[in-house]
């Protein structure tokens, strides 16, 4: 009996497209040449929590792991996880398997971890970028 495939384009697939686009932009477009300035940094002289993310994505997309981590450790981690997610989404779509279900309470734990990581990354950026 043939196994029924119930593949649909859901939220996971949309986020996969979002992450795939981030790779395409970081790899093939001159994202750093736009010369955008962080308003928080312009006002306070300090990096914001997401400063360096664009550089981290661009450098990791060009294979410069050390440069990516130096620009923003969380940015480098986020880029790696996002692109891994894209690969998993493609494999999942081809295999027709469902997304793994998270145990109750696990999403909240991951969310707290993410917020903690963001704050830790911010502290790192402030210390690392001090004059």
């Amino acid at each position: 009996m043939a196994r029924e495939r119930r593949w649909r384009f859901g939220h996971g697939e949309v986020f996969a497209v979002l992450f795939a686009l981030s790779f395409a932009v970081a790899r093939f477009l001159p994202a750093l040449a736009l010369g955008q300035t962080c308003p928080f940094r312009a006002l306070t002289g300090l990096p914001c929590a997401t400063c360096g993310m664009t550089r981290a994505f661009v450098r990791l997309a060009h294979g410069e792991l050390a440069g990516a981590v130096g620009a923003s450790p969380l940015g480098a981690l986020l880029a790696g996880l996002a692109w891994l997610f894209v690969a998993l989404a493609v494999v999942r779509a081809v295999a027709g398997s469902p997304w793994p279900a998270l145990a109750p309470g696990r999403p909240r734990g991951l969310a707290i971890l993410a917020v903690g990581a963001l704050l830790a990354n911010w502290a790192f950026l402030v210390v690392a970028n001090r004059p």
Binding site: F40, G45, L46, G52, I112
Partner: protein
């Protein structure tokens, strides 16, 4: 059997009646046993009540609640659905489709305008009642609004770019070089026709992805405070319908800032009602990043001031090289 939580509206499987806990939101709910005797059953030794008279045949009127009181008028029309709520009346917590989700029957533009009006003017009621499992309609609604608003804003910016540049040139002369307008000049000079066309083409996709991204951030923060019992669909529905307000970006000069403030208000109201999580948690999810940014800036200022006072080099002295992006 399948039970539905009265609080989060999620369904779950259970094997028993009585008091139990909803696995989605943790609320304590009571499932009455339909086969159990009523709680007000008369004891066996109680005097028997007289047998009520037999019901009249169908169509002959009610069994006799007496004549209606004077001044009472039967309703002339069925319940109004998304119509205005009478003053003082509490709207029912029954979920219904947004008018835009019913656009095939109501007409595209009429349903769009009605939904826009409901979400913008009465967000609390709209998001309390709107169904959260019709995400595609919500996404189409939000993407259309953001796209149209952005298109008009882009075209206006393009048409007024030269005027803006000359205005800032005059301003720069007046401030005698004290204000650095170079980045603005560069931005305006880079706003060419090809870049305008590129942005116009990319706007719908960026609008859709922006709605997803915003919903993702809000949902992450809701998860931290246990404020997302109805799942990502509810958050995405709120963000998508609330994004309809970005149609106001079509208004030159002040449309963008009005839309942003209004969006924040709608998102707080909407998340509180759609997720049934209360205004505090919703405000944390929407305003949390901004508040955190302000608190951090204040702390950084205090630390820099203390460092300066103690003769150390402050953290916030001169801006380090690089743009920060």
């Amino acid at each position: 059997m399948l039970a539905r939580c009265f609080r989060c509206q999620n369904t779950f499987e259970t094997e028993r009646f009585g008091t139990q806990t909803c696995p989605s939101c943790g609320s304590e709910i009571y499932l009455p046993d339909p086969s159990a005797p009523p709680a007000t059953a008369t004891p066996p030794d109680a005097p028997r009540q007289p047998t009520p008279p037999p019901l009249p045949p169908p169509g002959a009127g009610g069994p006799g609640w007496g004549p209606p009181p004077s001044g009472w008028n039967p309703a002339a029309a069925p319940p109004p659905g998304w119509g205005p709520t009478p003053p003082g009346a509490v709207p029912p917590a029954v979920e219904q489709s947004a008018p835009f989700a019913d656009r095939e029957r109501r007409g595209f533009f009429a349903s769009y305008l009605e939904t826009w009006k409901l979400a913008a003017v009465d967000p609390g009621r709209f998001f309390r009642q709107v169904r959260v499992n019709q995400v595609r309609s919500a996404l189409l609604f939000g993407t259309l609004a953001v796209t149209l608003g952005n298109w008009v804003a882009l075209v206006v910016s393009y048409l007024t770019a030269s005027a803006t540049v000359s205005f800032f040139a005059r301003l720069t002369r007046r401030f005698d070089g004290r204000v650095d307008t170079t980045p603005l000049f560069q931005m305006m000079q880079g706003f060419t026709l090809p870049s305008l066309i590129g942005q116009l083409v990319a706007t719908p996709l960026l609008a859709l992805l922006g709605i997803y991204f915003t919903a993702g951030v809000f949902h992450l923060l809701l998860l931290v405070v246990r404020g997302a019992p109805r799942g990502f669909d509810a958050t995405l529905t709120v963000v998508a319908y609330a994004s309809g307000i970005f149609l106001l970006r079509a208004l030159p000069v002040c449309g963008g800032i009005i839309a942003l403030v209004w969006f924040i208000v709608m998102a707080v109201h909407g998340l509180a009602e759609a997720q049934r999580c209360g205004s505090g948690k919703a405000a944390f999810a929407v305003l949390g990043p901004l508040v955190l940014l302000c608190v951090f800036a204040c702390l950084a200022g205090v630390v820099a001031g203390l460092a300066g006072m103690s003769g150390l080099r402050g953290l916030g002295g001169t801006a380090p090289p690089g743009t920060g992006i």
